[in-house]
């Protein structure tokens, strides 16, 4: 029997009427003869409300208890959906994380799935029941409730699909697929029919809006075909697959921007071994992730070093680097939050030269200065002034022939 995993996000189950729509869709798949395992999120806004309530108690609420609290969100939706299916005379049953035997490590708030023992789910599926699993939650070895972090329901769905060797894992959301660029920024963006796991992983800023990035890594590892689509219409969405499976032949698949960037420059740093470690170790120790780094050699054994950090961690990083600068004798530390990162992504870049050149020329033609550059096998990213981010995305989207034809 064909096994279909369907994951519904918070807006798809935002109220009882929408839950009813979801039930109708689930029932349709069930009636077509498939086994259906549904993974659901909390109703839109519920998780945020619970977090707000916890924040009223403490700025740093106990993480174990926060997970107990947050898990109620998915528990509520799972019960309501199972109830709705029952009221339509479909044999449905909810399973919470621990009942579905989603075993995780002990990292409350950001737990990783270790394994899923599928006996209970399989038993219900064999009884031709529709299984409704509360996403986002699991339990650790001591039976404590854990949660998987923002968007964790996607990971729940993919992990269950992998464990059940499901035929497909459908991710229902409020957008109808993955686009070549954010349509809000680039009106000519078009929906992709397929995208590879690797491209999706590189499209974090675009992709994270439709799919938790961690779940894509999981899907890649276990080769779970994902179908990202809207729960509000019947259109085909975007397949996220291994590149083997008949991809579109685009050199560049998508253009993204990421405004969550700030830059820090240390002026006139001694160009000596061990200096980089002194600069980056203290901020790594604080859990601040450095994205891009560039070093400009100057005269007299001195160099300028620029790097980027997430905007939220800019102040803390500046504080640390000022201390570092004093210690290593750098001339001064200078930083700004006015930058954005634009990226072009595509599997085709591995076999086509000239992508970087087109990107740099396009930016130059529009008088956009490139501050930093990083590349991976299938991505080129440039840090630019934030005010040019939208323009850069639109111009790159056109330059790489991604604009919608109509």
């Amino acid at each position: 029997m064909r096994i279909v995993i369907q994951k519904y996000g918070g807006t798809s189950v935002g109220d009882l009427e929408r839950i009813r729509n979801v039930a109708t869709r689930v029932a349709g798949t069930y009636d077509a003869g498939s086994a259906v395992v549904v993974v659901i999120s909390a109703m839109a806004g519920v998780t945020d409300n619970l977090i707000d309530m916890a924040s009223e108690i403490s700025q740093t609420p106990d993480r174990r208890e926060l997970d107990v609290l947050l898990a109620t969100g998915e528990q509520t939706t799972a019960a309501l959906l199972a109830m709705t299916l029952q009221s339509m005379n479909y044999p449905a049953q909810s399973l919470l994380g621990h009942q579905a035997k989603v075993h995780t490590d002990c990292a409350f708030g950001n737990a990783r799935i270790l394994n899923i023992r599928t006996s209970r789910i399989k038993e219900l599926v064999e009884q031709r029941k529709i299984v409704v699993v509360a996403g986002f939650q699991g339990c650790d070895i001591n039976g404590n409730i854990t949660t998987l972090g923002r968007g964790g329901s996607d990971t729940s769905a993919v992990a269950i699909a992998a464990a059940l060797k499901a035929d497909t894992c459908e991710i229902y959301t409020d957008v109808d697929g993955v686009y070549t660029a954010d349509p809000n920024i680039c009106p000519k963006a078009r929906k992709l029919k397929t995208v590879s796991y690797d491209e999706m992983l590189n499209m974090a800023s675009l992709g994270a809006k439709v799919l938790q990035i961690r779940s894509v890594g999981f899907a890649k590892k276990f080769d779970v075909p994902l179908h990202v689509r809207s729960s509000f219409n019947q259109e085909e969405g975007t397949m996220v697959v291994n590149e083997a499976s008949g991809m579109e032949s685009l050199v560049v698949t998508a253009v993204t921007q990421d405004k969550n960037q700030a830059r820090i420059t240390l002026k006139k740093v001694a160009d000596q071994p061990g200096v980089a470690a002194k600069i980056f170790d203290p901020i790594a120790a604080e859990g601040i992730i450095v994205d891009m780094i560039i070093q400009n050699t100057r005269a007299a054994g001195k160099t300028d070093l620029t790097f980027t950090v997430p905007k939220a961690q800019f102040d803390r990083a500046m504080e640390i680097e000022k201390a570092v600068a004093a210690q290593i004798g750098a001339e001064r530390v200078w930083g700004a939050k006015d930058i954005a990162k634009v990226s072009v992504i595509g599997m085709g870049m591995r076999n086509h030269s000239g992508v970087a050149s087109v990107m740099f020329q396009t930016l130059a033609k529009n008088n956009i200065n490139i501050i930093l550059i990083t590349t991976s096998e299938i991505r080129i990213s440039c840090a630019i002034e934030e005010k040019y981010a939208e323009l850069a995305v639109q111009e790159l989207h056109s330059a790489f022939g991604l604009d919608r034809k109509d």
Copy 2:
């Protein structure tokens, strides 16, 4: 180490400020050196809201899923209280029903506790942790979530107290104890220092407002001393104990009324063996509970038979009895919802004669007609016209010397 169970009801944990008050009280007991296991209810109104939501989906929501839904109420409070205690630097940890190993039968919505394996609770207590148990919930042999029915948190608390052989089980609520009558009806009612399990069990209509009656039966069975008191002040409440433990020497301890009564009379029923079965079996089969029964013998082998049922089931019972009347040849069926039951209760009745006589005289003196009478070893109940219920309670309260002296 002294082990104290503290149960807090829905109004006591109605908002974050009240939860903070509860935490302060718990912390006080902990600081005094006791081991504290807290059992909490859902925040006031939450359970009703969840039931309303389920009713929107179906008039008869799937009972298993309803329990999954309802269990979120206590889960939320347990997490919030544990979090609050943590924020005050007390080592607290929440346990859900299944984590506290509260094992029940499979009767969703009204499950009975079979046993509590206390290993987990004891382990935490031995680590000097404050354990916060989500009341009202347990799990069945298959790991399904079950709930214990209205007021089930009281039963959770008593069962945990019994399993841990706790020194005391404090039931915190929004009233400050058990009264000789409902103070809203009888302004001269006074708080009892002690009341026996048996009296409490017979005071259902009074007692149920402060304590789930089922939990009293449990407390009696395992001899768990209960202390019913208010969470809003520091006053001593009412001890519910075995009668041995120094009771007040009252003949009558309390006067109660119950307006949830309706009467049905079958006129001119043949006074033959088997007729009663024909009258009562069909309504018993519908789960309708008959409370009081009286039979007035008439002439010519005919008798009038009157009995009471809960008001909510009156219409259904009338329907059934009309069919029965036709079948057994009764003259007619007549019913009304205009009755109430007033009761006097007291352990002392076993050793004092004349209680019934005082009761009947008091009602007669006030021109209140007695429609039906039932008695138990420690209770006499009379069904009277509903409009006289308050008057009857006040007059009986005075007649048995229960009025407050001040």
